[in-house]
């Protein structure tokens, strides 16, 4: 489209590169994943074996789906720390319902997603309706949901043998050679990418996080938006919980403990701004994949697992630091002073 009159301001060569890198966060990350995979594959060719790729993508898909939900919440300047308990509770309840043969697999899956939605709605009520700061509310529900999980599970654990035959085969199922989980994650990410970009709801989500006051002046119903974000986050955690159950087969009350760290890390590494208003679900998904590859690489390279945690931490810190630096550079490079040549009063004779 030719727009002769509307040109980008001159920002200089360096500015342009940085702008590009920042804008193309997803591409940069995807590139990094490829480079990382290639480097590791030199040492450990099994990395690229189809069974290994299936395993890495399956687990990254679960984290990625939860990260999509988390992204919705973070975009609104909130955070949901309870996702891991939601995942755990849904995983157990679905497995238990199946083990007791109370529902057919399809119905049980729907039930699990619905349960996630309900838990998300509860978070939404606390944050959007009762004005509880999200970090406090979800820290609370983190232990409440886990407590319920323990209450239901007791010492029970559902194992592969208890589940309907073939149910967990989905974990290793492929469609035209692509792992099913990966396809599910890609579908969800694509759906939410479209929702965020192409619907008014999606744009309002960004608006609420970017400038709440301006959103209010525009008449955007921020509370509703935040509420829906939490509800969807719960629902997606529910999806992740169902997949968790399928992937691991053995589910007890402690399932998914500590996973929130990975989910938030995936968002942060994927370029979702923790202060809200910017970031994409594609980024979050790639962030999950990136972290998945890193931990897989550590295992395959036979490096000490003890480094894994430390490397996680470093990756998070490096990612946010780079973000901050890029944002700062970006802000500087585009704040070219306008020329204030004269103002309205100038040259006009006063009476």
């Amino acid at each position: 489209m030719a727009e002769p009159a509307v040109l980008e301001r001159p920002t200089g060569w360096a500015g342009r590169v940085i702008t590009l890198a920042a804008r193309q966060r997803e591409l940069t990350l995807a590139g990094l994943i490829v480079v990382l995979a290639a480097l590791v594959a030199l040492q450990a060719p099994q990395l690229l074996s189809s069974s290994n790729l299936a395993q890495v993508t399956a687990q990254a898909s679960i984290i990625g789906i939860a990260a999509v939900g988390q992204t919705l919440v973070i975009l609104t300047r909130n955070v949901d720390l309870s996702v891991e308990s939601t995942i755990g509770l849904v995983a157990f309840v679905v497995a238990e319902v199946l083990a007791q043969r109370m529902l057919e697999p399809a119905a049980a899956i729907a039930f699990g997603v619905g349960l996630g939605l309900v838990l998300g709605v509860a978070n939404g009520v606390l944050v959007a309706l009762l004005n509880v700061p999200s970090i406090v509310a979800t820290l609370g529900t983190l232990s409440i949901y886990r407590g319920i999980d323990f209450l239901l599970a007791g010492g029970k654990q559902v194992t592969l043998t208890d589940l309907p035959p073939g149910y967990t085969d989905a974990a290793r199922a492929t469609v035209v050679g692509i792992p099913l989980f990966f396809l599910v994650a890609v579908a969800i990410i694509a759906a939410f990418a479209v929702i965020l970009r192409q619907t008014t709801f999606g744009r309002q989500l960004y608006a609420v996080g970017s400038n709440p006051e301006a959103a209010a002046i525009l008449g955007i119903r921020s509370r509703l938006i935040v509420f829906v974000a939490f509800a969807l986050c719960g629902m997606l955690a529910g999806v992740a919980g169902v997949l968790w159950g399928i992937e691991f087969g053995t589910i007890n009350a402690t399932a998914a403990t500590g996973v929130v760290l990975q989910v938030v890390a995936a968002c942060v590494v994927g370029g979702v701004n923790i202060f809200g208003g910017s970031g994409t679900v594609v980024g979050a998904g790639l962030g999950a994949l990136f972290l998945g590859f890193i931990s897989n690489a550590l295992i395959l390279l036979r490096l000490s697992q003890f480094w894994l945690q430390a490397i996680y931490g470093i990756v998070i810190l490096v990612a946010v630091s780079i973000d901050a630096l890029v944002t700062r550079r970006l802000a500087r490079s585009t704040t070219v002073r306008r020329s204030f040549v004269g103002a309205a009063a100038a040259g006009r004779a006063r009476r």
Partner: protein, 335 residues
């Protein structure tokens, strides 16, 4: 100011009443409840958490957060074990551990103040990093065989009293930090930074330096808590402290500290720590199942915010009906 103080005091009074009620329940439930031994037990159970809650309260009042404390506890524990196993005497090992704690806090502080990163993300990152370092330093093994004097300090009570030795760390620390926060101009600056960092900066308050100092304090004291835990456990392992952050944050918020900064008191935090300790003890003495305890703590955390929120809304409604003047939501004195 007086109205604000009255409102502030109300939260502590409420907490005090809850505590009294719990004490009543405990006494009614179990004859052993008020025995010195039980008092010592319930104090010891939460002492490290209470110690860690003190600097965290200051950080939250100043408008930041530190989620990495539990991993610093682990790192301190692992490092102390490592040094001890390597033949470094405790007299040297403990100071080294405390210095490492300070350095960890410094790292948090520099990332937050120097790079301008959100403390929530930074300390989630260092939460993983410090834990990882703990595992790297000590690896899988546990270290034990610490000197008796050391382990007695961790586990024993002051002779003739039901006071656990670590309480002798907590009490002076609470008093010092309480005095600093409420009676010195440093504390005033902490409140100012939490309520309006920009105005504080324009008033010559060294906002970044202050926050940096608070993070260093938090790291150091978390390391101290790690040392105490090592003494109490008579052994060092890299996984010590996991999950503690939740309890520490709960204590701080239950103590009436506003997660957005600018409000909260040390007496409130101390009361909250006591309340949680007694609650845990009562639940255990009543053989209430562990899962109910976890639900109860989570609910307490949420309710401690919901109730004042609702109360505030009711109050605002009342004011509007009466046509009085609106005070801003956070109107609270400086202690």
């Amino acid at each position: 100011m007086t109205a604000a103080v009255a409102r502030l005091a109300r939260w502590e009074i409420l907490l005090g009443l809850v505590l009294l009620a719990l004490l009543g329940v405990g006494q009614a439930m179990s004859a052993v409840f008020l025995t010195p031994r039980n008092v010592a037990n319930l104090t010891a159970a939460l002492i490290e958490v209470a110690i860690m809650a003190l600097p965290l309260a200051l950080i939250v009042i100043a408008g930041e957060i530190d989620l990495s404390v539990e991993s610093m506890v682990g790192l301190a524990c692992a490092l102390l074990g490592f040094l001890w196993a390597a033949g470094v005497p405790l007299e040297a090992g403990i100071p080294i551990v405390l210095v490492v704690g300070a350095l960890g806090g410094l790292l948090n502080g520099v990332l937050v103040t120097g790079f301008g990163l959100p403390s929530l993300v930074v300390t989630i990152g260092t939460l993983a990093l410090f834990r990882g370092l703990a595992l790297v330093v000590l690896g899988p093994q546990g270290v034990s065989g610490f000197p008796d004097a050391f382990t007695t300090f961790g586990f024993g009570t002051v002779p003739g009293t039901p006071i656990p030795w670590p309480a002798l760390v907590f009490l002076p620390l609470a008093v010092i930090l309480g005095v600093v926060l409420h009676a010195t101009w440093i504390g005033r600056q902490i409140y100012a930074v939490g309520k309006n960092a920009s105005a504080a900066r324009f008033s010559g308050v060294r906002v970044l330096r202050l926050k940096l100092a608070l993070f260093v304090l938090s790291g150091t004291i978390a390391a101290l808590a790690g040392v105490i835990l090592t003494a109490r456990f008579a052994s060092a392992r890299a996984d010590v402290g996991q999950g503690m952050t939740l309890t520490v944050v709960t204590v701080v918020l239950l103590g009436g500290v506003n997660i957005f900064g600018g409000r909260g008191t040390i007496p409130g935090v101390v009361l909250a720590a006591l309340t949680l300790a007694v609650l845990g003890n009562v639940l255990r003495l009543g053989n209430v199942s562990a899962e109910i305890q976890s639900i109860a703590i989570g609910a307490l955390l949420v309710v401690s915010v919901v109730i004042p929120n609702l109360a505030h809304q009711v109050q605002a409604l009342y004011r509007r009906v009466r046509g009085g003047r609106h005070l801003p939501a956070g109107a609270v004195g400086t202690g």
